[in-house]
């Protein structure tokens, strides 16, 4: 198993159990800087757990996970520093409901990056403009639609200037008419060269921006292929079966 030098994420033989349930089974995954990986697979296949391991939200029992060159979990301070290289977007947005959109974005800038209020607000507004929602800066999350909330969540994650963005089913909780506005922001982000790992079933998005598609089932990575091959006739039989079920309904 070769280890790429410019790999921002380097996972070797990762294993995780929830009690008796083997949720990650010898997972290997390297992600080079500047690449975009889409992870798909049936529910319960371990894909969310995998990306939650990458920023340390979940622990694991066996294997190694290096993030930006740091082995996670060995040293609390180094782990925290490595996590700072990641931005995470959740399925359920997880905006802070008691804070305005702007304060949601500035909180980490002020408390973690040590920015002044003015600096933090400038950075936050720049990112809110990038996700095309600057006019809602003074609103509270509860006053926004799901699509708007998720765009704010993306802006919030971008504020600390991460080297890699992790998306955990970012459009699964959205009404169909709001999926596009979120995917558009993600496509723009990909075009800007952001390294991304995205758990999603949006195969159109995968086709458009992904360099590679990873297919997981039962805690294993069954298939990892360049996007063209993944959707082509030579793809792994199990992922073909999966694609047929999600593309034909």
């Amino acid at each position: 198993m070769s280890t790429q030098l410019d790999a921002i994420v380097d996972i070797q033989g990762l294993n995780k159990w929830f009690g008796a349930l083997h949720v990650l089974n010898d997972v290997d995954l390297t992600v080079a800087s500047g690449t975009r990986i889409v992870v798909c697979g049936p529910s319960g296949s371990g894909k969310s757990t995998l990306i939650r391991c990458i920023n340390g939200l979940e622990s694991y029992q066996k294997g190694t996970l290096r993030l930006a060159g740091t082995a996670l979990g060995l040293n609390a301070r180094e782990t925290a520093a490595a996590r700072r290289q990641t931005g995470m977007v959740f399925q359920s947005f997880n905006l802070f409901p008691h804070l305005t959109v702007l304060t949601n974005c500035t909180l980490a800038l002020r408390r973690v990056a040590g920015c002044s209020r003015g600096e933090a607000e400038d950075i936050a507004m720049a990112h809110l403009e990038k996700v095309r929602i600057p006019e809602k800066a003074r609103s509270y999350p509860g006053q926004l639609s799901g699509g708007q909330q998720q765009r704010v969540a993306i802006a919030r994650a971008l504020c600390l200037n991460p080297r890699i963005m992790l998306f955990d089913e970012p459009t699964s909780a959205l009404d169909p008419e709001m999926i596009k506005e979120v995917l558009d922001v993600m496509v723009a982000l990909a075009r800007d060269g952001m390294t991304m790992i995205c758990v999603t079933h949006e195969m159109g998005f995968a086709r458009e921006v992904a360099d590679q598609v990873v297919f997981m089932d039962g805690g294993c990575i069954l298939d990892r292929a360049p996007v063209r091959d993944f959707f082509g006739p030579s793809g792994h039989p199990r992922s073909r079966l999966f694609l047929e079920t999600i593309l034909t309904h």
């Binding site: 920023n55 340390g56 939200l57 925290a80 996590r83 700072r84 990641t86 931005g87 995470m88 959740f90 359920s92 997880n94 905006l95 802070f96 409901p97 008691h98 804070l99 305005t100 909180l107 980490a108 408390r111 973690v112 509270y140 999350p141 509860g142 006053q143 919030r156 994650a157 600390l160």
Partner: protein
């Protein structure tokens, strides 16, 4: 023996004279109970030996009578060389006793916050302390204004226990009048009515506060 309105009215100034003591003791005890209760709940959440021990302490406090605490602090501690004034003992006793209950209120308020909130805080690299101060505590407060207000009223109503330590609070004062005049009805009714008014004012304030907090960032 009927109700002598004139005598009741004449007892009002004396009883009201102690309202400051009652409110002061209640206020400081509320702050103390909230501070200790929050600390207890944070320690319980650490888990492990610290968490288990704290959980036991909380249960122990809640399972013992408040009078036992007051008597212990006032009469037993001096044998160990710790001599405290009756007011101090009163505030300490009420604070400690109610901290056990408030820890449970804080627990419920924190448990009601979706798990995604603390995960988002961690994903944004906020440390534990900042996550509590900026993300968890404000949302917890919003969840618990009503029960917290109820306990503050309970603390107010528990201040007469301090009569056993000769703290000059309202009910004690009313009882002094009764003992001197052998008329119990009027001073006790007056003291009860003043407690009623204070409790209603606090409840009203809590309701208004709750409405305001819920209006901010309504989900």
């Amino acid at each position: 023996m009927g109700f002598d309105l004139a005598f009741a009215v004449s007892s009002v100034p004396t009883i009201l004279g102690a309202v400051g003591t009652t409110l002061g003791v209640a206020l400081v005890s509320c702050i103390g109970a909230a501070a200790i209760g929050f600390l207890f709940e944070m320690m319980r959440r650490v888990g492990g030996v610290v968490g288990l021990t704290t959980g036991f302490v909380i249960d122990f406090i809640r399972s013992t009578p408040v009078l036992a605490w007051l008597y212990f602090l006032y009469f037993a501690l001096p044998f160990y060389g710790i001599r405290l004034g009756s007011m101090t003992v009163g505030v300490m006793g009420l604070s400690l006793y109610y901290s056990g209950y408030l820890a449970e209120v804080f627990k419920a308020g924190i448990d009601a916050i979706p798990k995604g909130q603390s995960e988002a805080a961690r994903a944004l690299s906020l440390n534990r302390r900042d996550a509590v101060i900026y993300v968890i505590a404000p949302q917890m407060l919003r969840n618990i204004v009503a029960p917290l207000g109820n306990y503050f009223v309970s603390i107010l109503k528990a201040t007469p226990y301090l009569a056993v330590l000769a703290v000059p609070e309202m009910l004690g004062r009313a009882f002094d009048i009764a003992s001197e005049t052998y008329r119990y009805t009027e001073p006790l009714v007056v003291a009860g009515l003043i407690f009623l008014v204070l409790a209603l004012v606090i409840s009203h304030g809590v309701k208004r506060l709750e409405r305001r907090l819920l209006a901010v960032g309504a989900r």
